[in-house]
C-alpha cells in the first residue's frame, strides 16, 4: 500500500488555504449536504464511517456526538483539541496550517449535528502559524456566511473562536483543556463515572463535544462521500476505519507527515519515509512518546490499526512515529522522555507529581554513572505505582515508555548501571551524553 491522501490531499497547494481555492477543490460540499440532512442522520453517517478519535485514545467519535442532549436546554459547545503536544506528533499543526477550512467545515458540521452554539479551537500556544492561518480562514468564513448567523441561509447559527494555550502539555487532556479554556488552572477535572461526561456537563457545565483536529478534519469527507465509503478505507483491520496521518521522525531519510489507510504495515510507513538513516533500525515508538517502544522484529510484523498495534504491545496513539537507528542510546532516550513528563506533570495528583520526579532522579543518577543494582527494578516499581493510579492519563503516559524501555532493552540499562557509561560508543550517541 502507498500513501492515501485524503486530509492532506491539497496540503501542497497554498491556493486551498483561501476559501475560493478550498471550494474549488471540493470544499464545503460536505457542509452544504449536511445542512440539508436531519441532525441525527449526520451523526448516523459518522457512526457508519467508524471514525475513531484521532487524538490518541481511539474512542468512537459518534458516541460522543450522540451523547449530547437532543432536547436542547442550555447552550451546546463544540471544542477542538488542537493542543498537540505529544513529542513526535506534528500532524495537527500541518492540518491547521495547510487545510484550515477543512477543520472549520468539520467543526461546523459537528456544530450542526449536535446543535452547537459556539465552537472553540484550543490551539497549543506555540502554534502561532496555525493560529494565524485559522484566524484568516475563520474571518473569511464569517464574511461568506459560512460561520455566524444563519449559515448558508438556514436557521443554523454558529460562532467559532480561537483560544491559544499557554504552554502546557497537560492542557491537551480534554478536561484540563476545558479548565484552561474557562480561565482556570490547567488541571484535569473529574471524569465519568466520578462526574458527568462532557457531553452532559462539560465546559461551563454545558453539554460539550470535544474532538481532535484530525477527527474533525475527517468529517467533511465522511459527509461528502458518505460514511459507507469512508468505512471501506482500512476495511482489512479489525475495527479501524479511514486514514491516519503519521508524523514520521527520527532517523529516517524523509521525515514528515504521511497519511495512510489503516491496515498498512508499519514497515511500509518506514519505507515511505525513505527508510532508516545512518545505520540499522534499533527501535520504534509508533504513536508518540508516551507509547511503548517496540523492536525491529515487531516493526516488521506490525500492522497499523488500533487493535492490531496491541499485538506488538504498543498503540497507534496520536501517530507520532519515531524511528531510531543503532547509534541510539535507549537509556538516554528514556532519560529524555522521563524529563519531559516530569516537567509537564500538572502536580495535581500524588503518583504523577512525585513519581515522575523520582523516575527522573533515578535516571539522572544512572546517566551520571552512579547507577546501582536494583535501579531497574525500582524504576519499574515506581512506574507501576504511577500507572493506573494517577488522576489522568498523564501518569500512564509517563510510566508506559519507561517500563517499555526497560522491558525491551534491559541489557542497555544493565550496562549503564554496571559501567557507568553508554553501551553505544559511536560518535552520534556520545554527543547526546551530558
Amino acid at each position: 500500500m502507498a500513501e492515501y491522501k485524503l486530509l492532506l490531499k491539497h496540503s501542497d497547494d497554498p491556493a486551498t488555504q483561501t476559501l475560493a481555492g478550498y471550494k474549488k477543490a471540493g470544499g464545503y460540499s460536505g457542509l452544504a449536504k449536511a445542512l440539508k440532512m436531519e441532525r441525527q442522520a449526520v451523526i448516523d453517517e459518522v457512526k457508519t464511517s467508524g471514525l475513531r478519535g484521532r487524538g490518541g485514545a481511539g474512542f468512537p467519535s459518534w458516541i460522543k456526538w450522540n451523547g449530547l442532549p437532543k432536547e436542547k436546554v442550555k447552550p451546546h459547545y463544540v471544542l477542538c483539541n488542537a493542543d498537540e503536544g505529544e513529542p513526535g506528533t506534528f500532524k495537527d499543526k500541518m492540518l491547521m496550517e495547510t487545510a484550515p477550512f477543512q477543520l472549520i467545515e468539520g467543526m461546523t458540521i459537528a456544530g450542526f449535528a449536535v446543535q452547537g452554539d459556539v465552537g472553540y479551537i484550543y490551539i497549543r500556544g506555540e502554534f502561532i502559524d496555525a493560529a494565524k492561518a485559522l484566524r484568516k480562514a475563520i474571518d473569511e468564513a464569517y464574511a461568506n456566511n459560512l460561520l455566524g448567523k444563519n449559515i448558508l441561509g438556514t436557521d443554523f447559527s454558529y460562532d467559532l473562536h480561537i483560544h491559544l494555550g499557554a504552554g502546557s502539555y497537560e492542557c491537551g487532556e480534554e478536561s484540563a483543556l476545558m479548565s484552561s479554556l474557562m480561565g482556570e488552572r490547567g488541571m484535569p477535572r473529574l471524569k465519568f463515572p466520578h462526574a458527568p461526561l462532557p457531553t452532559v456537563s462539560g465546559v461551563w457545565e454545558r453539554p460539550t463535544l470535544i474532538n481532535n483536529v484530525e477527527s474533525y478534519s475527517c468529517v467533511p469527507h465522511i459527509i461528502d462521500k458518505g460514511g459507507e465509503w469512508y468505512a471501506t478505507l482500512g476495511a482489512s483491520t479489525k475495527n479501524s476505519r479511514g486514514t491516519k496521518i503519521f508524523s514520521v521522525s527520527g532517523h529516517v531519510n524523509k521525515p514528515g507527515n504521511y497519511e495512510i489507510e489503516f491496515g498498512t504495515p508499519l514497515k511500509e510507513l518506514l519505507e515511505m519515509a525513505g527508510g532508516v538513516k545512518g545505520g540499522k533500525l534499533k527501535a520504534c515508538i509508533p504513536g508518540g512518546s508516551s507509547m511503548p517502544v517496540i523492536k525491529p522484529d515487531a516493526v516488521d510484523v506490525a500492522i497499523i490499526g488500533y487493535e492490531e498495534m496491541g499485538e506488538v504491545k504498543s498503540m497507534v496513539g496520536s501517530g507520532g512515529c519515531m524511528f531510531f537507528n543503532e547509534h541510539t542510546d535507549i537509556v538516554m532516550l528514556a532519560w529524555r522522555t522521563a524529563h519531559f513528563y516530569a516537567n509537564e506533570s500538572c502536580g495535581k495528583c500524588t503518583p504523577c507529581r512525585e513519581g515522575t520526579r523520582w523516575m527522573v532522579q533515578i535516571m539522572d543518577r544512572i546517566v551520571a554513572g552512579n547507577g546501582q543494582k536494583g535501579d531497574m527494578e525500582l524504576l519499574t516499581e515506581v512506574a507501576n505505582n504511577v500507572e493506573g493510579r494517577s488522576f489522568c492519563a498523564l501518569g500512564d503516559a509517563a510510566a508506559w515508555p519507561i517500563k517499555a524501555f526497560i522491558r525491551q532493552f534491559p541489557e542497555e540499562f544493565e550496562y549503564w548501571i554496571e559501567h557507568g557509561k553508554s553501551p553505544v560508543t559511536s560518535k552520534e550517541a556520545l554527543a547526546l551524553v551530558p
Binding site: R185, L190, P193, A342, G347, R353, R357
Partner: protein, 644 residues
C-alpha cells in the same frame, strides 16, 4: 426535608456485604455505614471532592443485574469522588490495594522532610497516622529530597512550611468554598506545585485559622502555638467561645493551668467545624499580665490591695436605694445576670441596672426567627446594616454556605461593601445614617426615587434590590437604627436582629432594665447626681462612648465599684475593685445569638483570688438578708424561669 422513605437508595456490595445506601453518596462515605474507614488526605466532608491525593483508591466493579456476575475494573478508583450507583461493587481491602496505599504513601514521604520530632503536628498528624497503618516501614528513596521554603509567615497567625506540604489543596478549597476569600492558590506545576497567597501577599482571611486545622500535615501551623507544646502534653476540654455572640464550640487546650491554643469543636447547629480568627487566636486575655488577682480598695489617691471583707463592707455601705446604678458587660454568664438582678434590685432596691450602650440597642431587644443552621436554607436573604464577617462570623459562613450550596439569593444593604458583597446578588451601599429611609423603601413607605436620592444609591439598583427582596429573611444586629429595625420587622419575611455581645441575649433574658439605662446612669453620674456606680465586666472606655464623658462620669460619681478580670482603664477610677474569673475559670452558661444556652464547666483554676461575679453577688446578698445561698451555677440557672 424529605421523609426517610423518599430517599432513593441503591444496592451496593462492599467487601462482599450487600447494603442499601442513598443514591449518589460518595463511596468514601458509604463504606462508613459498615464501620469501614478508607484512608484519606485531600478528601474533606465539607469540601468538594477532588481526588488528588489518590490515598483512597479502592477496587470497583459492577454486578450484572441479569446474571449476577461481577466484573471488576482493571484500575483502582478514588473512593472520594465516586458516587454510588446500583450494582456497584467495592473492595476496600486487598493485597493490590495494600500495595497501592503503600505506593501513594511512599510517594508522599519521599519529599516530606520527616521532621516530625520538631513538627507541631507530630502526634496528631494524619500523615503520621496513615503511614503507621498503611505505609512502608522503610524508604527506597536515596535521592536528594525536594527543598522548599520553611517557616514562611503567611500572616500573623499562620506559618507555611512548603517542605511538609502534600499538595492536597484542602486549604485552597477552604478559602474558595467556605470562607470565600480565595486568598490561597496553587503556584507552579508538577513537583514544584505549592499553595501560596497571590503574589505572596499577607493571608488576611478572617477565617484563616481553619486551614491550620484541616491541613493533614504540619504545613500550616499556628504561629501563636508554634513550638509551645506537643499535643500529648496538652489537656483539652470542651468549651464555648465567648468572643462574639455566635457561641462557637471549641476545644480549649491548656497546659499547667494556662490556655495554649483553641481548636474548633464540631457542632452542626452552630459552627459546624469552623472558627473565626477572632475566636481561634483571640484568647490571650486569659494570660494577660494585667489580670486582676486581689480585691482593691482606695485609700486617698491610691488603690491598695484589700481583702474581700473590707471591700464587701464598703460596697454594702455605698449601695442602697435608687440613687445607685449597676452597669454590666454583655459577655458575662447567665448566672451573673440572674444574681445581679436579684441582688441589686431585690436586695439593694435599685432598678438602675443595664448592659446596653447604644440608644438603638436600648430601644429594641433582639428578635430571632431563624436559628443559625436554618439560615442556609433561606431562599432570599437580606443582610441589612451589618458587616456579617466581622459582627457575626459564623452567621456569615452560613449565609455564604446557603448561597454556595443552594443558591440563596443574597441582598446586602450596608454603609460600605464587605465580604458579603462578593457573592450578593444586589449590593446597596447607602450613606451612613440613612438606614431608616432605605428600610422604609423596602417596606414601600417612601418612594424608591426619594429613597435613592437620599441614600446615594441609583434608582434602578434600589428598585431591583427591593423587587428581589420580597419575602426575604432579614439579618441584622441589635445595634441597627431602631426606626429601621421596626420597619424591617414588619416586613413579610423572617426577621432576625441578632445580638452581637457574647451573652447579650442572656442579659436581655435575665435583666429587667426597668430603671435608668446605662447611658442615663453615666449622664447622672457626670452631673454628680449618682451616689454609687457598680461596673461589672466592662471597660467603659472601650464601648464607643466619648472619652471625656466617661471620665466626667467616673470622676463625679461618689463611689465607683469595679468588678473585672483585668486592670482596665475604668479600674483606675475605682473606689473598690473585685477580681473576676473568666469563662474558662468558672462554671456558667451562655446564651448565643440564636438563643441556644450552652453550659461551660470550669477548665482552669482561677487567677489569684478571683471569684465568679455571681458568687460575689450571693455572698453580699446573704449579708443583707441571711438565707441559704446558691452554691453552684446550675442551681441559679434552674431558678430562673427565663431560661427554663
Amino acid at each position: 426535608m424529605a421523609a426517610a422513605t423518599d430517599i432513593q437508595t441503591v444496592n451496593i456490595i462492599v467487601n462482599g456485604i450487600e447494603l442499601a445506601v442513598p443514591k449518589g453518596e460518595l463511596v468514601v462515605e458509604a463504606v462508613k455505614r459498615l464501620g469501614l474507614e478508607i484512608p484519606i488526605f485531600c478528601y474533606h466532608p465539607r469540601l468538594k471532592p477532588v481526588g488528588m491525593c489518590r490515598m483512597c483508591l479502592v477496587e470497583t466493579g459492577m454486578k450484572n443485574p441479569q446474571d449476577g456476575t461481577i466484573r471488576m475494573m482493571p484500575k483502582p478508583a478514588a473512593a472520594c469522588t465516586l458516587p454510588v450507583s446500583e450494582g456497584l461493587v467495592i473492595n476496600t481491602e486487598s493485597d493490590a490495594l495494600k500495595k497501592d496505599r503503600k505506593g501513594v504513601l511512599e510517594f508522599l514521604l519521599i519529599n516530606h522532610p520527616l521532621d516530625c520530632p520538631i513538627c507541631d503536628r507530630g502526634g496528631e498528624c494524619p500523615l503520621q497516622n496513615n503511614t503507621l497503618f498503611y505505609g512502608p516501614a522503610t524508604s527506597r528513596f536515596i535521592e536528594q529530597k525536594r527543598h522548599n521554603v520553611k517557616a514562611y509567615p503567611l500572616s500573623d497567625y499562620v506559618t507555611l512550611d512548603l517542605e511538609r506540604c502534600i499538595q492536597c489543596a484542602r486549604c485552597i478549597r477552604f478559602t474558595e468554598e467556605i470562607s470565600g476569600d480565595s486568598q490561597l492558590a496553587f503556584r507552579f506545576r508538577g513537583n514544584k506545585t505549592h499553595p501560596i497567597t497571590f503574589n505572596e501577599t499577607k493571608f488576611t482571611s478572617k477565617f484563616s485559622g481553619n486551614v491550620i486545622e484541616i491541613c493533614p500535615v504540619g504545613a500550616l501551623t499556628n504561629r501563636k502555638y508554634r513550638f509551645r507544646a506537643r499535643p500529648w502534653d496538652l489537656q483539652t476540654s470542651e468549651a464555648v467561645c465567648l468572643n462574639c455572640s455566635n457561641g462557637c464550640n471549641i476545644w480549649f487546650d491548656h497546659r499547667a493551668g494556662k490556655v495554649v491554643r483553641i481548636n474548633a469543636r464540631t457542632n452542626e447547629a452552630i459552627n459546624e467545624e469552623w472558627t473565626c480568627d477572632k475566636g481561634k487566636f483571640g484568647h490571650d486575655y486569659y494570660n494577660d499580665e494585667k489580670r486582676l488577682e486581689t480585691p482593691f480598695a482606695r485609700t486617698g489617691d491610691e488603690l491598695q490591695k484589700a481583702d474581700y471583707a473590707t471591700v464587701y463592707a464598703k460596697l454594702l455601705e455605698a449601695f442602697h436605694g435608687d440613687n445607685t446604678g449597676m452597669i454590666l458587660g454583655d459577655s458575662l454568664s447567665n448566672e451573673t445576670y440572674i444574681t445581679a438582678q436579684n441582688f441589686f434590685t431585690g436586695q439593694l432596691g435599685s432598678h438602675n441596672i443595664d448592659y446596653r450602650f447604644s440608644a438603638n440597642q436600648a430601644k429594641g431587644a433582639s428578635t430571632v426567627d431563624n436559628s443559625i443552621a436554618s439560615l442556609e436554607l433561606a431562599k432570599t436573604t437580606l443582610v441589612f446594616g451589618t458587616h456579617l464577617a466581622d459582627d457575626l462570623p459564623i452567621v456569615f459562613l452560613r449565609v455564604r454556605k446557603g448561597w454556595f450550596n443552594q443558591g440563596t439569593q443574597v441582598i446586602l444593604a450596608t454603609d460600605r461593601s464587605d465580604e458579603v458583597s462578593e457573592f450578593a446578588a444586589h449590593t446597596l451601599v447607602y450613606k451612613p445614617g440613612t438606614e431608616a429611609t432605605i428600610a422604609k423603601a423596602f417596606a414601600g413607605q417612601v418612594s424608591v426615587a426619594d429613597a435613592a436620592a437620599k441614600c446615594g444609591i441609583s434608582e434602578p439598583e434600589l428598585q431591583a434590590a427591593i423587587t428581589a427582596a420580597a419575602g426575604a429573611t432579614v439579618i441584622t444586629t441589635t445595634s441597627l437604627n431602631h426606626e429601621a429595625a421596626e420597619v424591617l420587622k414588619a416586613l413579610d419575611g423572617n426577621f432576625n436582629a441578632y445580638p452581637t455581645g457574647a451573652n447579650e441575649r442572656g442579659a436581655q433574658l435575665a435583666l429587667a432594665c426597668d430603671g435608668l439605662s446605662a447611658l442615663e446612669q453615666l449622664k447622672k453620674a457626670a452631673n454628680g447626681e449618682l451616689s454609687a456606680l457598680w461596673v461589672v465586666g466592662v471597660d467603659l472606655f472601650s464601648v464607643g462612648l466619648p472619652r471625656e464623658e466617661v471620665i466626667r462620669a467616673l470622676e463625679n460619681v461618689d463611689f465607683l465599684a469595679v468588678q473585672d478580670s483585668r486592670r482596665t482603664e475604668t479600674f483606675y477610677y475605682a473606689s473598690v475593685a473585685l477580681p473576676m474569673t473568666l469563662p474558662a475559670e468558672q462554671d456558667g452558661s451562655y446564651t448565643n445569638c440564636e438563643g441556644t444556652t450552652q453550659q461551660m464547666k470550669a477548665i482552669i483554676p482561677p487567677v489569684g483570688q478571683a471569684k465568679p461575679a455571681w458568687r460575689v453577688f450571693e455572698e453580699l446578698s446573704i449579708r443583707v438578708n441571711p438565707r441559704m445561698p446558691f452554691s453552684q451555677a446550675s442551681e441559679i440557672l434552674a431558678s430562673a424561669p427565663a431560661f427554663a
